[in-house]
């Protein structure tokens, strides 16, 4: 009767955890699974319990001390050396009955689990894969069987067929217990249907059966196992229940039958409590073994369910400048010194932001650019203190001075008062960042209530005002996010960020979900608002051309480090770092002369194993031997910063090859 987290998948609007599953299964799940089970305590407990019952199933004769059915002892004995669990009213040894009874429950569990899973896979995958009318029909059948009270139905069936044996029981339970698994498998198949690898198989002209057997099923290992385990628990419990009420073979050797006889002889009241307790404990333990495995399996296949913390912060080069008591500059909104952020991963800690310094003046527009995976978003989320559970990122060093206080050491309670009033955040996709079940008005009201004593009327008025600021008709104020268009949602989120006209607005790729035209008009509007209201902006983007006309300064990040930091115009006109140059060459200029566009060969390094020396050196067109060996320092050139040995005079002098050029 356990309900696994698969309910998440069953409910259409629910958050899916299956992306992970798919990703993992595509890379040899089997081997990982064994390792993962060995590491998971719940899974190990389940495996041990199950192994114990399997041994009892296979060798009852060798293990049981007596013949389970022989009424040869004194009835109603309590526990003793001879009879560990006492004897029944019929003078049988309870322990021996218990051991012999294991077999039937285990057989039922595996047989029903197997049968139900087979049907579930057949129905669920076919429904999801075929779609259309077949899906409609199969789903209807699945739902009907799921909803019809199975236990009463089984009772009705067995009531007519009193002498139902093991086979009947297995067939009936299997034929009725598959629907939950089928529902989940269908949902998963549906979500897989449009995936690239299936498209590819279809284009290759593979047969349907091939696609289902070799492309779809392997990705669903975890769901299939969950379906099996769920059906097994169900079978153990229901079979015991049926036997308990006397709807089984009264001469069968099973835990349920023991309970039936114990209840009929009022064992609990008559001084033979173990007669009734022990078989129940066994049913519960066998059920728990499957339930534990199911639960653990959920954790293994859905990494989000595992709690991760840094065991030990990784060593980051200590910074002399960091936290050195440098007085806060009143002209600066933000001063970041030596900020480092690490993530946990299976391979240990990964430093995603490494010793970053940055300054932001009042009303200044700073763009942070770089390829995906360079640590841009991590940097700004660290500044906004939005890392930490459930996200695995943690600030492991440095200082974030915002309006004179260090955000790193600020307690969450104090931080709350700074949030939204003094700095706000605009996220990449408003579709995901706006709460789907609250209206825009309610979400604005939440923010207002948290930070002010505004009356409901004032809040309504202010909300309309900020919507007008971003050119949204205030009639949309009481709409739900899904009722707005993509561009409007994005604007509504920006409007929300301006409720208190903060000093700093952090924007994480706020336009990347929009088309080019909408992108441009939104950028113009952001810039216009920024100049009018005077807030500073940290703007994250991977699209350099987007910010060339809007930002005052540009921070180019590569592999978690600052590659170049300086005036936007200067960086665009005379980029210094080879990476910046490569980035610029990868984007077309709108008005400039026609040039050949160059991509950057290779991809950013895996931060778990960064290259030695300069992190860009493996992809750098002008790399020298020293670049591969010694990490370059961040050097100041005409009040801008660049991390490249070409601008480091001291390093160049030590390296004669570089000095020559």
């Amino acid at each position: 009767m356990t309900v696994t987290s698969g309910a998440v998948a069953a409910g259409a609007p629910g958050p899916g955890g299956f992306e992970h599953v798919v990703a993992e299964t595509r890379r040899g799940f089997g081997r990982d699974l064994v390792r993962a089970v060995a590491r998971n305590r719940k899974a190990m407990a389940g495996v041990v319990l199950l192994a114990f019952f399997l041994v009892l199933t296979l060798f009852p004769g060798e293990i049981a001390p007596h013949d389970p059915m022989a009424s040869i002892f004194q009835p109603g004995l309590g526990p003793s050396r001879e009879h560990w669990l006492g004897t029944t009213s019929y003078g049988q040894d309870i322990l021996s009955q218990l051991i012999w009874g294991t077999r039937q429950s285990v057989i039922i569990a595996f047989a029903v689990g197997g049968l139900a899973t087979a049907i579930a896979v057949l129905v669920g995958v076919s429904a999801g894969y075929l779609g259309g009318a077949s899906d409609g029909f199969l789903s209807l059948v699945t739902d009907v069987i799921l909803v019809i009270p199975i236990f009463p139905l089984i009772i009705v069936i067995t009531a007519y067929e009193k002498s139902s044996g093991l086979t009947t029981l297995v067939i009936v339970l299997g034929a009725l217990g598959w629907s939950y698994g089928a529902r989940q498998l269908r949902a998963q198949t549906l979500s897989l249907r449009t995936r690239d690898f299936l498209e590819a198989a279809r284009v290759r002209g593979e047969r349907r059966s091939y696609v289902i057997l070799y492309e779809i099923l392997p990705t669903m290992t975890s769901l299939i196992v969950a379906s099996f385990l769920g059906a097994a628990v169900f079978a153990v419990l229901f079979a015991a229940g049926l036997q308990f009420i006397g709807l089984g073979d009264p001469n069968a050797q099973s835990w349920g039958t023991m309970l039936y006889w114990a209840e009929n002889n009022e064992a609990l009241g008559a001084g033979m409590p173990l007669w009734a307790i022990a078989p129940g404990v066994c049913v519960a333990l066998l059920g728990a073994a499957f339930a534990l495995l199911n639960y653990a399996f959920d954790e293994i296949s859905n990494p989000a369910l595992r709690l991760r913390r840094l065991d030990r912060p990784p060593d980051v080069e200590p910074r002399d400048a960091a936290a050195s008591g440098e007085p806060p500059d009143p002209d600066r909104v933000l001063q970041v010194r030596g900020l480092s952020v690490a993530y946990t991963s299976d391979e240990g800690a990964v430093v995603a932001v490494d010793n970053v310094d940055l300054d932001l003046g009042r009303g200044e527009f700073l763009a942070v650019v770089g390829e995906s995976g360079c640590g841009k978003s991590t940097l700004v989320y660290a500044i906004a203190r939005l890392l930490g559970p459930p996200f695995s990122g943690e600030i492991i060093g440095g200082q974030i001075m915002f309006q004179g206080r260090d955000m790193v050491t600020l307690a969450e309670r104090q931080l709350r008062h700074v949030r939204w009033r003094e700095f706000s955040v605009v996220m990449q996709s408003a579709m995901n960042a706006l709460n789907p079940v609250l209206t825009i008005a309610a979400q604005m009201r939440d923010a207002c209530k948290a930070h002010s004593t505004m009356s409901d009327r004032e809040i309504e008025e202010r909300s309309r005002e900020v919507l007008r600021l971003v050119s949204i008709d205030p009639i949309h104020l009481h709409s739900y996010p899904h009722q707005l268009s993509g561009g409007m949602r994005q604007r509504a989120m920006i409007a929300m960020a301006l409720l208190f006209t903060p000093d700093l607005v952090i924007m994480d790729e706020p336009t990347s979900a929009l088309d080019v035209v909408a992108q441009r008009s939104l950028m113009m509007q952001i810039k216009e608002l920024q100049q009018r209201l005077g807030f500073a902006v940290v703007f994250v983007t991977h699209d350099m051309s987007l910010v060339s006309h809007f930002s005052d300064r540009l921070l180019v990040m590569y592999a978690g480090q600052v590659a170049e930091f300086g005036d936007t115009r200067r960086v665009f006109d005379t980029p210094r770092h080879p990476y910046t140059r490569a980035l610029l060459e990868a984007f077309p200029s709108i008005r400039g002369p026609k040039t050949h566009l160059l991509g950057i060969p290779g991809s950013p390094p895996d931060l778990a194993r960064p290259p030695s020396g300069c992190r860009f050196s493996p992809r750098c067109p002008v790399a020298r031997p020293t670049c591969h060996a010694t990490p370059p320092r961040l050097v100041e050139v005409e009040s801008d910063l660049v991390r490249c040995v070409l601008y480091d005079d001291a390093a160049l002098q030590r390296d004669p090859v570089a000095a020559e050029s």
Binding site: V147, A159, F391
Partner: protein, 327 residues
């Protein structure tokens, strides 16, 4: 609109399936059980009622399968479920209506309570991930959710009634108490309901805790929860209106879908406690081979589950604005 039509179709299909199963099962079972039962009715009920029973169970009847089926459907549609043997000469409907309030009170309330409390514990334990509550409750409830309901009921009776003598072991109210609208009676009913209610609660709650915990953990990684943090909302508010409101939606579907299971467990609890509800009556009818009553109760349980699903649907529409636009 399409959503409503589809849902309606689903309800009708389920009802039809339940009725048809009732009709088909006795015909598939090659036993003499039904004939033996019919013999006990002989001479006790009027020919018309007898004929209805013959059609229902496929005994002595010369109609074709299809003709019998449609006559049967007609009888069911008019609410003619036959005459109960156990409570002769009362009609099945009459008996069922007697038992219904007891089950609604016990199983209905405890099921809802288990869902509400379990969902809340699941939410909090996911919110305080790795905390005290999270470390203790979910693992315990993984195990209790594998307990057979009836066995826990046996243990509860043994411990609290036989050994300690704190609470009554069976019945819906005391033998000496008069069935009337009085405080004494109400108190007596309450006292008798504690053990069965706790039994159902303890076994049913685990599933809800685990699903809600897992849903919440997934939801906590969503952008809108991060956004709520960025807005500087109070933690309680984030947990409730941002994480909880969204995490409960798939749980509601799950609730509706697993009611069949919950009811099954509850039937056995009523049986063990001799609680005068539908479940107990159902098992009595099986024991007495009172198939008319049994089939009537099976239909009733199906309808009850469908009504609960309807309630869950309504709750989903209220809680999730997206479904409103879909329907």
């Amino acid at each position: 609109m399409r959503f409503v039509v589809r849902r309606l179709g689903f309800f009708l299909a389920t009802l039809w399936a339940a009725v048809t199963l009732n009709f088909v099962i006795p015909r598939l079972m090659p036993g003499n059980a039904a004939i033996a039962m019919m013999a006990r009715y002989k001479g006790r009920i009027n020919p018309e009622a007898m004929h209805a029973l013959e059609i229902a169970f496929g005994v002595n009847n010369h109609q074709s399968f299809l003709a019998a089926y449609f006559t049967y459907l007609g009888n069911i549609a008019r609410g003619r479920f036959g005459t109960s043997l156990t409570f002769f000469p009362d009609a099945v409907t009459h008996e069922v209506l007697q038992a219904l309030p007891w089950t609604l009170g016990l199983v209905g309330l405890t099921t809802i309570l288990a869902f509400v409390v379990g969902t809340f514990i699941g939410l909090v334990s996911a919110w305080r991930r790795g905390g005290m509550l999270d470390g203790v409750l979910p693992p315990i409830f993984v195990i209790t959710s594998a307990f057979p309901y009836f066995w826990l009921a046996l243990l509860a009776i043994w411990l609290f009634s036989i050994e300690l003598g704190w609470l009554p072991a069976n019945g819906g109210y005391g033998i000496k108490t008069e069935e009337a609208w009085s405080w004494t009676f109400a108190g007596d009913v309450l006292e008798h309901s504690i053990l069965p209610a706790v039994t159902i609660l303890v076994t049913a709650i685990g599933g809800w805790i685990l699903t809600m915990r897992n849903n919440t953990i997934s939801v906590l990684a969503e952008d809108y929860v991060r956004m709520a943090r960025a807005k500087g909302l109070k933690p309680w508010r984030i947990m409730w209106t941002y994480a909880g409101r969204n995490a409960i939606l798939p749980n509601l579907t799950g609730f509706a879908m697993s009611l069949g299971f919950v009811v099954s467990g509850a039937i056995l609890v009523e049986f063990v406690f001799n609680y005068p509800g539908v479940g107990w009556m159902f098992l009595q009818s099986v024991e007495n081979q009172d198939y008319a009553l049994m089939q009537g109760l099976f239909l009733l349980i199906t309808v009850a589950v469908l009504l609960a699903i309807l309630a869950a649907d309504v709750a989903t529409v209220i809680l999730d604005p997206r479904t409103r636009d879909r329907s």
